[in-house]
């Protein structure tokens, strides 16, 4: 396969065709800040923080590095004055939306952003869309970006608590500004977005230790995805801790017999 000659911030390097700029930069140890990117998901190019200056042939342009496929020799600059200024603007605008985000505060310090320029909106979501995208891939396709323009927000269908959530917590884990809350209360797991309950999932009850653990999930869909036809006969209702103990005991018993 043909390799491309890339000049990254003045240093020569190579790239494979259709590799993204972000991948090449990461390989070469060049850090590009991102908010809406995850290597597990398709790039969405929504936060625009990863913008870089690209020169292909004679034309120079600004592109998002997370999804720009390199197809010819190019020169990339990841930290020019315009880029730094643009990133600073993005951080200022997002800081005004979510003034309490630790992640953004860190970035604001790095790009010396003026965080008091715009009046705060006191939201907690930067609308990066990661939760919606991961939910589509991993979870129950519960979350989506609803609304248009300034009214866009992460939402469940019709804004009601969703019955399809499997309580996997992928959205909570991926959120760059920790805006989604997950909490196990008694026999239920509650997911909260924008201070509103997005889903409430029943938890399994452990027969041994009498505690609640992992969500009750209809496994039909999972089995479909795995290509298995039937659901395996349910094990005893055991939490992972008790199950481990039980298995350990069984192994110990067996070996005890031998010796």
């Amino acid at each position: 396969m043909k390799t491309l000659k890339i000049i990254l911030n003045g240093k020569e390097t190579t790239a494979k065709p259709d590799q993204t700029i972000l991948e090449v930069a990461t390989e070469n140890g060049v850090f590009i800040p991102t908010l809406c990117h995850s290597t597990a998901l398709e790039p969405a190019a929504m936060c625009r923080l990863c913008m870089v200056e690209l020169t292909e042939g004679r034309r120079s342009k600004f592109v998002t590095s997370c999804n720009y496929p390199l197809r010819q020799d190019a020169e990339i600059k990841t930290d020019t004055e315009v880029i730094r200024h643009g990133r600073k603007m993005i951080i200022e605008l997002l800081m005004a939306r979510c003034p309490d985000s630790e992640e953004l505060k860190k970035l604001a310090g790095e790009y010396s952003a003026n965080i008091t320029r715009f009046a705060p909106l006191n939201d907690d979501c930067v609308v990066c869309g990661l939760c919606a995208r991961v939910c589509e891939k991993v979870g129950g396709k519960t979350l989506t970006l609803s609304g248009r323009g300034v009214h866009i927000k992460v939402n469940t269908a019709f804004g009601e608590a969703s019955p399809y959530c499997i309580g996997c917590g992928a959205c909570v884990q991926i959120c760059p500004v920790n805006a989604i809350k997950i909490e196990d209360i008694e026999s239920e797991r509650v997911i909260t977005i924008h201070g509103r309950e997005a889903a409430r999932i029943k938890l399994n009850h452990c027969d041994v230790c009498d505690k609640y653990y992992g969500p009750v999930i209809d496994l039909t869909k999972v089995m479909e995805r795995l290509g298995e036809k039937t659901i395996p006969p349910p094990n005893l209702n055991l939490c992972p801790g008790c199950a481990r103990q039980k298995l350990g005991k069984r192994i110990a018993d067996r070996y005890y017999d031998v010796y």
């Binding site: 790039p43 969405a44 190019a45 929504m46 936060c47 625009r48 923080l49 913008m51 600004f62 592109v63 998002t64 999804n67 720009y68 496929p69 315009v82 200024h85 643009g86 603007m89 993005i90 605008l93 997002l94 005004a96 939306r97 320029r117 715009f118 009046a119 930067v126 609308v127 869309g129 970006l145 609304g147 248009r148 323009g149 300034v150 009214h151 866009i152």
Partner: protein, 627 residues
């Protein structure tokens, strides 16, 4: 009445050559020079009652005694162009033009004009500059200065009858291409014509077709009829008045690119266009001009209509394709062009309505013929919808390269009510305002871009001295805030902040540094946004700051709105030297803030005044001052 062409049965064609025979047959039964009464039933004339006028004319024509004279045909057609003077009635073959026709004028028209050949002075067009009246279409400068290529059939044909269109040459371009041209030849002809996309970006149509044809896979032809710019109605008039020109253009594109499937993405707000297109596609399929095995050549092209859901951003190509697939209409964050991977991840050719409407004539007359119109870099003609503070509001088609001055003063007839010209806004929300000093620049892709605006899809809004540029910027920014898709940060957050600042300025709470922040935001959005909407969203603000910076400064520093638009920033006062005491303002004032005796200068109570502009707009002596 003469035999209606609707009674001629459709017969399917099996050879491209049969079309000419069919056309001659139609012409032999319907003399094009026979008398006709054409009533404009376009979007401008319908609300002012053109349907009632048409019904009345139909009735009166049947009832009148013709004494052996040829009974004229009555036709309800698409837009005639001069929308502000509607309902319009044209009488062919003489080309008599009547404006503002009311149902009660109909008996007089039939009696005097049709039976006795007399003209009715009252209904004639009055030239605002020379005060002369013109009775014939060709004498009216609004029409005389136009070059109608795309609009040639509009206003002459019944949009619901394919035979009408065929008599005026529809589908002969397709017949020619099918019988004697190879796909490559069609593309070369389009390339030679220099036709550039009429949707706004101005990309070469021929080059686009060529690159789409070079990618393997099922190819799609898509027509962008999601015309969303405020004040633009070119595509609407085309689809409602002459749907076959667009359908034929799409069929030719399909033939050139090698596609068998096409979609028309029509915006929700155009129900009449959907009707004309549905009828047009059905009739063309019956005649074998669309659908399967077109004119017996084995070429298939099936078209269907998809309706938008009222989102401005769906005029952006990738958002349109997402919407067409049934997904949320948001632009795709991909750096792969839609000619390679568009609709259903297949090569897709997307063009604007007007681009397709140009194709058939280029094929018939050759690319060189088309190139002779317009300028070197922008060939051909362009349809504009001329609106705003101007005498002749309507649909205009001019060769590229005419000056803005000609558009405004000669075709547009100038600014009414003795007001001064201030600026012209082109290109819709993505465009900019062009001030007075650039009135002599030619209207073409490059020259408009050079002064900070764009050609856009052809909206042209003329602004007079009573327009506040800050308010104009605020209006367009507000429009974009509502219509942005909201997925990328610069466009979403940047627009919110821009609107916030502009709202502040128009309320008199502007601060030092606001102009700099606006400029900073504008340039940042241009560089960092995802799609075309975002990258051009700063234009209304940037171009008004560029040319009307003082106006922003007066708003911020002096807390005044010199144009008298931003209500908290001005007051009205009556100039005692100019006021004649005619009492017009006193009678019009809805809150009785104006008092005074007849023939003596009036006075105004500022505490009562609600600044509704009623007195200011209606004073014949310009005695109402803005202070």
């Amino acid at each position: 009445m003469t035999e209606s062409i609707n009674t001629i049965p459709f017969s399917r064609m099996f050879k491209p050559k049969e079309l000419e025979g069919y056309r001659k047959n139609l012409l032999s039964k319907n003399d094009p020079d026979s008398p006709k009464i054409l009533i404009c039933c376009g979007p401008g004339c319908q609300p002012s009652g053109s349907i009632e006028v048409a019904e009345e004319i139909k009735k009166a024509v049947i009832e009148a005694g013709w004494n052996g004279k040829v009974i004229p045909q009555v036709k309800m057609t698409g837009c005639h162009g001069l929308c502000s003077k509607g309902p319009l009635v044209t009488i062919e073959p003489e080309g008599i033009f009547y404006q503002k026709v009311k149902p009660k004028d109909v008996p007089e028209i039939v009696e005097k004009t049709l039976l006795n050949g007399e003209l009715i002075k009252r209904l004639e067009y009055k030239n605002p500059a020379t005060k002369q009246t013109h009775s014939h279409t060709k004498d009216i400068p609004f029409y005389g200065r136009q070059t109608r290529l795309v609009l040639k059939n509009i206003g002459h044909i019944d949009p619901f009858d394919i035979n009408d269109a065929i008599m005026r040459g529809a589908y002969s371009g397709l017949a020619k291409a099918l019988s004697e041209m190879m796909p490559g030849q069609i593309i070369n002809e389009i390339k030679a014509s220099g036709l550039r996309g009429r949707g706004g970006a101005g990309f070469s149509t021929g080059v686009k077709w060529e690159s789409c044809a070079s990618y393997p896979g099922t190819r799609y032809i898509i027509c962008n009829a999601d015309e969303g710019d405020p004040g633009a109605f070119m595509d609407r008039a085309l689809l409602e008045g002459d749907p076959h020109s667009v359908l034929e253009g799409m069929a030719l594109a399909a033939l050139a690119i090698g596609s068998e499937r096409g979609y028309l993405y029509v915006r929700l707000e155009y129900p009449l266009a959907v009707k004309t297109l549905t009828q047009g596609i059905r009739q063309a399929e019956e005649l074998g001009l669309l659908g399967k095995n077109i004119m017996g050549t084995g070429f298939n092209f099936e078209l269907s209509i998809s309706r938008g859901a009222g989102a401005f951003v769906c005029g952006e190509s990738s958002a349109l394709m997402s919407s067409l697939e049934g997904k949320v209409g948001r632009p795709r964050p991909k750096y792969i062009r839609s000619v390679e991977k568009g609709f259903q991840d297949s090569p897709s050719n997307l063009n604007n309505v007007e681009t397709y409407a140009n194709i058939a004539d280029i094929i018939l007359n050759g690319g060189k013929w088309y190139k002779d119109f317009g300028t070197e870099e922008s060939a051909g003609t362009k349809v504009f919808s001329l609106t705003g503070n101007i005498y002749n509001i309507g649909l205009v088609e001019v060769p590229m390269g005419v000056s803005l001055r000609e558009m405004v003063y000669e075709i547009g007839g100038g600014i009414p009510k003795k007001r001064e010209f201030k600026a012209v806004q082109t290109g819709g929300p993505s465009g900019g305002c062009i001030p007075k000093q650039f009135l002599d620049i030619p209207v073409a892709f490059g020259s408009l871009a050079k002064v900070g605006s764009i050609m856009g899809s052809g909206g042209m809004i003329v602004l007079d001295e009573d327009s506040c540029m800050v308010e104009i910027a605020r209006y367009f920014t507000h429009f974009l805030v509502e219509e942005s898709c909201g997925q990328c940060t610069p466009c979403r957050e940047g627009l919110i902040r821009m609107l916030e600042i502009l709202n502040r300025i128009t309320k008199g709470e502007g601060q030092d540094g606001d102009i700099d922040t606006l400029e900073e935001l504008g340039h940042f959005m241009t560089d960092f946004s995802l799609c075309g909407l975002g990258t051009s969203a700063g234009n209304p603000v940037l171009s008004t700051i560029k040319y009307f910076r003082e106006e922003y400064e007066v708003h911020i520093q002096n807390k005044k709105c010199p144009a008298g638009v931003c209500k908290p920033l001005f007051n009205y006062s009556i100039d005692a030297n100019e006021c004649t005491g005619c009492g017009k303002c006193r009678l019009r004032c809805p809150v009785n803030a104006i008092t005074g005796e007849k023939k003596k200068p009036h006075t105004m109570d500022r505490d009562l005044c609600i600044k509704c502009q009623e007195c200011y707009k209606n004073c014949d002596f310009r005695a109402i001052m803005i202070i």
